[in-house]
């Protein structure tokens, strides 16, 4: 039985197959449904092309579901968080704006 996962991308056109690191939600029913994992995985546009793979459902930044799921093969579990500062991009934009002030 294939497992089902879900991930989010900003826009569907950003999707690219192949090996990559991504956050996925485990859709297995039960009290831990939607648990997040950060994994290294290979993803495929056609889920039928992958042996021993699972289903990857994909949603956009507005939560719109891509009608056709992709396939995913998890290669490695990664740490549960990633390096970075809260609102890093936004603060940079704000600082840039502040620097423009006389």
């Amino acid at each position: 039985m294939k497992k089902e996962y879900q991930t989010f991308v900003r826009q569907f056109k950003d999707l690219k197959g192949g090996k990559q690191n991504l956050f996925i939600k485990d859709l297995t029913p039960g009290p831990r449904k939607y648990d997040t994992r950060y994994v290294k995985a290979e993803i495929f546009r056609d889920p039928g092309k992958i042996k021993n793979g699972d289903i990857l459902r994909i949603r956009s930044e507005s939560g719109v579901l891509l009608p056709q799921p992709w396939g995913i093969k998890i290669l490695e579990e990664l740490p549960e968080s990633v390096p970075g500062q809260p609102w890093e991009d936004v603060f940079k934009a704000v600082e840039k704006n502040e620097n423009l002030k006389p």
């Binding site: 989010f8 939560g63 990633v82 890093e88 704006n97």
Partner: protein
């Protein structure tokens, strides 16, 4: 008497008919959210889901604490039918007398009945709801209260910020980058690369949550204003893992820290403006260190969305009065402010004692000076009842000059990134614009040329009005 806690409030709502208890099993995954959403859109009561799928007896969900003006009135100890104008007046009056909190011993605090530390921590013990289909995760923090502290001045901030379950030990959230939590983090914790202690509170006295939505000035403690509105101090208790204090009668308290060097993804989520508008972000990570909770914990939630719901109602009141105070502080001749819940704090009505383009521009400057949550302001003469949107619409349609009555301000770095009309690029840079509509008569117009409003009370003399009123039934009217 103020409510001791959320349970006390529930008992009163049962008596007033403002609560329905659902004993049929309901799924935390979409079903509870969809029911809650439908009920808001019917203007119905709050809902207590007593049996939640996958969870043991006693672990319940509660939607819609203050989702109607009736419930806001009840929370303030007022009759349920109290008019909105009167609720505003009483709220404003009570805020004038802050009441400091009192500190309870840990052993007397109900929220310490159960305590989980470190490896015992498991957020999946609680039925965090998946509120809308397509959300980024299970939002345990919607009708919440997030406590953080300024380590230098000692000022404690309470804010209502969304937080979802990332995994058993992490939450992911997205307080707005212009929020007071972000201000504290950026000013004190980021430069020192120190984790920021944080506590997420669920199911406190409803007034405490309402005050958490208030845009108070920097340095003002929400706990004091909660006491003011309750007319009695709120009882706080110290956290287990930090020097933060939280409402002692809360249902669930999640303690932890926001690291400065690690992030986790948050969103998207159907938010308070009534849309799920691309607010997917590299969110704030909240590493959980302890959870304390009452026996039979009640997880409070809002099935957020189009107004009217708890968020749009609470923010109407708290933002409206905060804005009035702010405008007064700037010396603007404000008479009243109303934030119509349907406008989800994007649309504001302001009446002024003296109108004109200069005053309108000053009003706009106030709303765009720092973080900008508001995109449209209608400035009106004080003869308009701003609690009646029909009157506002009539004035706007007829008095706002399309060529010289509209003032627009563009800005970057401080816009509301949840405003749905902004593009993804604008949201990423906090770029936006606000507009003020001058819906007042130009003060330079001589009195004799100002159009007379053709209403019964304004175009007829007192004598005629009295005569008509006295004879009303004699005309055959009821």
């Amino acid at each position: 008497m103020p409510f001791k806690d959320h349970r006390d409030f529930i008992e009163t709502l049962k008596k007033t008919g403002d609560l329905i208890e659902v004993t049929k099993e309901v799924d935390w995954d979409i079903e509870a959210g969809a029911i809650g959403r439908r009920m808001y859109e019917m203007g119905g009561p709050s809902i207590w889901f007593k049996k939640v799928k996958d969870y043991p007896e006693g672990y319940t969900l509660y939607n819609g604490s203050l989702g109607t003006w009736r419930r806001v009135a009840i929370s303030l100890g007022l009759p349920p039918e109290t008019p909105v104008r009167e609720i505003y007046r009483i709220y404003e009056e009570r805020l004038e007398k802050p009441v400091a909190p009192i500190i309870l011993e840990k052993k007397k605090a109900p929220c310490k009945e159960n305590i989980l530390f470190d490896d015992q921590v498991d957020l999946y013990r609680f039925p965090a709801p998946m509120i809308h289909e397509g959300d980024g995760g299970r939002y345990i923090g919607t009708w919440d209260l997030v406590v953080t502290k300024d380590p230098e001045m000692g000022w404690t901030n309470w804010g209502m910020y969304r937080f979802m379950v990332h995994n058993k030990r992490w939450l992911a959230g997205w307080p707005q980058p212009t929020s007071q939590l972000a201000y504290q983090l950026k000013k004190y914790y980021l430069p020192r690369n120190q984790p920021m202690p944080v506590a997420l509170v669920i199911g406190a006295d409803p007034i405490a949550h309402m005050v958490a939505t208030a845009p108070l000035r920097l340095g003002e403690d929400e706990a004091n204003f909660t006491g003011a509105l309750r007319k009695k101090p709120i009882e706080l208790v110290k956290c287990e893992t930090s020097d933060l204090f939280v409402p002692a009668h809360s249902e669930i308290v999640i303690e932890g820290e926001i690291p400065m060097d690690q992030i986790v993804p948050d969103g998207p989520f159907g938010e308070y403006p009534g849309y799920r508008s691309g607010t997917m972000a590299e969110g704030v990570g909240f590493r959980v260190k302890a959870i304390t909770y009452r026996n039979n914990p009640i997880l409070t939630m809002i099935a957020l969305g189009v107004p009217i719901d708890d968020s749009s109602i609470a923010a109407s009141l708290t933002a409206g009065i905060a804005m009035k105070r702010g405008l007064q502080h700037r010396g603007i001749p404000v008479a009243d402010v109303f934030v119509p819940p349907e406008g989800v704090t994007h649309l504001i009505y302001v009446t002024v004692k003296k109108g004109g383009s200069q005053v309108t521009k000053e009003v706009l400057e106030y709303f765009t000076a720092r973080r900008v949550m508001v995109s449209k302001v209608i400035v009106l003469d004080e003869d308009v009842d701003i609690f009646d949107s029909g009157q506002v619409l009539h004035a706007f349609a007829t008095k706002c000059h399309p060529g010289r009555g509209i003032w627009v301000e563009h800005y970057e770095g401080r816009a509301n990134s949840l405003t749905p009309c902004y593009s993804p690029k604008e949201r990423a840079r906090l770029k936006g614009a606000s507009v003020a509509f001058d819906t007042t008569w130009p003060p330079e117009w001589p009195q004799e040329i100002v159009p007379i409003k053709a209403s019964f009370k304004t175009i007829y003399s007192k004598e005629i009005q009295e005569k008509i009123n006295q004879n009303w039934k004699s005309y055959g009217f009821k």
